[in-house]
Subunit: 102 residues, 2 copies
């Protein structure tokens, strides 16, 4: 199969039982997800960049969490306004956004 | 932060809005998740192996889907009974389970 070049995981506190309850969900996890959807669509890079929402990563004190694989870069305290920089710098520019790395 | 050696993502069709509806959820995605929880607990390797449920990966025809990062190995048509082999062979043994790779 065609694997994504970057697979972005956004914690939306999505529990497997259907509940969405947790730090990231309460702190704009969904807005972060929405911003990524918009940026990926606008840039027309959906073939190379894949986006997934997830359940809790267990490091809520560093949330909201965004993880990029296979790069294995973990970002914390992400705000929806940071998404454009992550897309510009990391996903399209290849430069990790150091100030958000945890 | 301490990054997991293997991060296992299981599709449970967890939508960001709280719905859990989709192919993997209807085809034992939750049972697969539960089996991984048990295997990781039993082997006491929770410090090195991280488990997350996700929303739909968009390749439902190959589901249920399990992805292991940063290895970047995608497994499809996974059955709960396959979990022990994935743990033994791939996660603990370093040998990818070829018959499930998509």
């Amino acid at each position: 199969m065609h694997k994504p070049k970057h697979h972005i995981f956004v914690c939306t506190s999505s529990r497997a039982n259907g509940q969405t309850k947790g730090y990231c969900q309460s702190n704009e996890g969904l807005a972060i997800m929405q911003r990524f959807i918009e940026e990926i669509d606008d840039r027309e890079i959906g073939g190379d960049v894949f986006l997934s929402n997830t359940g809790c990563f267990g490091i809520c004190e560093k949330g909201p969490i965004v993880v990029v694989y296979p790069d294995n870069i973990w970002y914390g305290k992400v705000h929806p306004d940071d998404v454009e920089e992550i897309m510009d710098s990391h996903i399209e520019g290849g430069e990790i956004v150091d100030r958000l790395v945890i």
